[in-house]
């Protein structure tokens, strides 16, 4: 794949942008004693407001674990996660639910739509949890489905949709309560080339037009042309973080690893 310089021109990146997610010496251990496995082993990282950051790394590098930690979906064994300078560990269950509901949107590799709901119902679930009235939820849900190009399929159930369509519903759902952070865990892994590109394009649009911070773990190198920064994780540690401008993209080689 050959990239042209124009079509992924990164938008302006002011150097003093506020930090939105910060991790301090993050550790996550599975098992204990001899069998203990360090999924994360001291991760310090910062993610800026409004950027699109790609998290890359081989399978088993702790990428997904890191991803879950900053999404407040799992508790670390050690270390702190600050979302907008608020320590997640300090939050009550109710506040955590609030955070997950309105401030963070999640996109999963396997979509995780609720099987017995239509596309529209799936999109409005987070609005239900945030207490939006059904009429508002329905209106906004339709807008979001239009945004991802599925306005005419609102009453289809997941089983009646293709993977790409399901993932687009999942994206619409993640945007339900206008989150500030969008976490996408390998969003294109289960999709073919073309649909994957569509999904990435939607992510880029959301990032640029709505100023949503997008954190995206992926193996998909097309993302490299869209993102502002890339973070490599290996063996539970941050290997390096690069700005895209500083990176040389070599096509025809495996990975961005040197």
């Amino acid at each position: 794949m050959i990239m042209t310089a124009e079509n992924e021109k990164p938008k302006q990146t002011p150097p003093d942008r506020a930090v939105i997610v910060r991790t301090l010496d993050l550790e996550k251990v599975y098992g204990s004693g001899e069998a203990a496995t360090y999924a994360l082993n001291g991760v310090d990282s910062t993610i800026m407001r409004g950027e699109l950051i790609a998290i890359m790394g081989p399978s088993g590098s702790g990428k997904s674990t890191y991803f879950n930690m900053i999404g407040a979906l799992d508790a670390p064994t050690k270390g702190r996660i600050l979302i907008d300078e608020v320590d997640v560990a300090q939050l009550s269950a109710s506040e955590l639910a609030f955070l997950r509901c309105r401030k963070i949107g999640y996109i999963f590799q396997s979509y995780n739509l609720i099987r017995y709901m239509t596309a529209l119902e799936n999109v409005t679930v987070p609005m239900t949890f945030s207490g939006t009235t059904p009429e508002d939820a329905r209106r906004r849900g339709m807008e979001l489905l239009d945004l991802v190009g599925l306005g005419d399929r609102w009453q289809h159930r997941p089983i009646e949709m293709s993977g790409g369509q399901q993932q687009r519903v999942a994206i619409a759902r993640s945007l339900a309560n206008q989150p500030q952070i969008l976490l996408a865990d390998e969003p294109t892994a289960n999709l073919d080339f073309q649909t994957g590109e569509e999904v990435l394009e939607i992510l880029r649009k959301i990032n640029q037009e709505r100023g949503v911070t997008v954190i995206c773990s992926t193996h998909d190198h097309r993302l490299l042309y869209l993102c502002n920064r890339i973070m490599w994780i290996r063996d539970g540690k941050v290997e390096r973080v690069e700005k895209r401008e500083n990176m040389t993209i070599k096509t025809g080689k495996i990975g961005g690893e040197s």
């Binding site: 979302i83 506040e95 997950r100 987070p126």
Partner: protein
């Protein structure tokens, strides 16, 4: 400026929960219907046990009351014709039936103080009898041999026998009846003879009354007179000291008449001519003609009754009774035979006050069936929750609170319990009714049981819902408590 401020999540009402639970049930209709069927069966079983216990108990008590009424008619008729037996006199003094005591005090010419003494003595004897009955078989063999209580009482009247008896009581560490030696000694030497004397006096009085009644009726048999002129007999009986207010002389007359008809049929079977003729009609050898078979044959239809009546009329020395009478006697006879076979022993009259009239084995059965159902339902719920871990995790990611997730499952279980329970309760009650009809047929008594049966259905329904909810709470609590990602990983 901070854009992200963590506030408390809004709490959602139960309406939304029910809506979600319902759509979940509709989507998993097959799995849900299996759960509903399991719950329904549990509830049906419970409702059936309770409702049947109520229905059969009520019917048995009603049948027993009818049998008792018939028996008491027999007793009353007999008492007009012959004096009460000694044992029955003693029993009546112990039971203290006011009507009987009024008659006895007249016949025995008992003064008020004598009556009081007699009642006290009868109660003492009752105490003694109860003590003897409470002996174990072994104690009884050692202390009384093969004597019954009254025989024992008469045996220990001699001081030696009494001493030996008390000595044996001491040896096998049994409390002697009435406690002290003095009390027992007074009973056997003073109270018992005095009581016997009074009872004999009463019995003699009763015998004289019967004789006088016969004289009044001018040599007619009392039951014959009763059939013809019940009012006259009533007046005469009252005159000789019977407490006739308690007697329904019209019913008594009808009873006497039926008894006479029945006796006549039985006697006529003894006649060779009738026996042979009946054998021809029933197509059995003459030796197999007996009253039950004949009664069944008569009850088949009124033509048979007419045939037999004609036969009786043609036979010398036997009177015809009328086909209608014959038919009525036969059906009455068969009905009471059937009632007696349905309720051969007195039903437990205390059962009415117990939990839906259930006996101990019924309660054990319910408990056991319940355990099975609890496990079945718990398993169904566990499966339903574990296969939805991803859904739970997703919902938590989208901002659902633990409470909401639990509520969703609990509502789902409650809805399943409600649906299964309603069908189960209806089915169980229906089965109880079918079983009642097949067991008791036309004698099934449903009057007055409706409320209790409804109550048992409601109870079974409530228990079913509770069961489902309890079974769902455990697994859904475990699932809701997990961090979202852990729940997803459980898969």
């Amino acid at each position: 400026m901070k854009e992200i401020v963590a506030k408390n999540q809004v709490e959602l009402g139960s309406a939304r929960c029910i809506q979600l639970a319902l759509s979940g049930i509709m989507f998993r209709l097959f799995r849900s219907s299996i759960t509903i069927v399991i719950l329904g069966l549990a509830v049906a079983f419970l409702a059936h046990m309770l409702a049947y216990s109520v229905i059969s108990g009520t019917t048995e008590r009603a049948i027993w009351a009818e049998l008792e009424a018939e028996r008491s008619l027999g007793v009353r008729l007999r008492r007009l014709e012959s004096p009460d037996a000694f044992a029955s006199l003693l029993l009546q003094f112990q039971k203290q039936d006011a009507h009987r005591l009024a008659e006895y005090s007249r016949w025995g010419a008992l003064s008020a103080s004598e009556m009081e003494q007699t009642l006290r003595r009868a109660a003492l004897v009752a105490d003694f009898e109860r003590a003897v009955q409470n002996f174990t078989n072994r104690q009884r063999a050692i202390l009384a041999g093969d004597r019954n209580a009254i025989e024992l009482l008469e045996y220990i009247v001699s001081p030696e026998a009494l001493n030996a008896f008390l000595e044996r009581c001491r040896q096998i560490e049994v409390r002697s009846p009435l406690g002290s030696r003095e009390a027992l000694e007074t009973l056997v030497t003073v109270e018992w003879p005095a009581l016997q004397e009074v009872l004999h006096r009463v019995r003699e009085g009763h015998r004289r009354a019967v004789a006088q009644l016969e004289r009044e009726l001018e040599g007619q048999r009392i039951s014959d007179a009763l059939i013809q002129t019940p009012e006259e007999v009533k007046g005469a009986a009252e005159a000789v000291g019977f407490y006739t207010a308690a007697y329904d002389f019209d019913r008594l007359a009808a009873f006497a008449r039926d008894a006479r008809h029945q006796r006549r049929v039985e006697e006529s079977i003894g006649s060779l001519r009738i026996r042979q003729s009946l054998a021809g009609r029933l197509n059995v050898p003459p030796v197999e003609i007996h009253s039950l078979r004949v009664m069944e044959w008569i009850a088949e239809n009124k033509d048979h009754a007419a045939e037999l009546d004609q036969l009786l009329g043609e036979t010398e020395g036997v009177e015809a009774i009328g086909a209608d009478n014959l038919y009525r006697v036969a059906t009455h006879f068969l009905k009471f035979r059937r009632l007696q076979s349905l309720v051969p022993i007195a039903p437990d009259l205390d059962a009415e006050d117990r939990f839906f009239g259930l006996d101990q084995s019924g309660r054990w059965l319910i408990l056991l069936a319940f355990l099975v159902c609890v496990i079945g339902v718990a398993n169904a719920m566990l499966m339903s929750v574990t296969e939805r871990f991803t859904e739970i995790a997703t919902m938590k990611c989208l901002g659902a609170m633990d409470k909401f997730i639990m509520m969703m499952f609990v509502f789902e279980a409650a809805i399943q319990g409600l649906v299964g329970g309603i069908f189960g309760a209806l089915f169980g009650v229906f089965l109880a009714w079918v079983r009642g009809v097949s067991e008791f047929g036309g004698t099934l008594v449903l009057a007055g049981v409706f409320g209790t049966v409804l109550l048992s259905a409601l109870l079974a329904l409530t228990v079913g819902i509770l069961l489902a909810v309890l079974a769902a709470v455990g697994p859904s609590f475990a699932a809701a408590r997990l961090a979202p990602m852990e729940a997803m990983r459980v898969e």
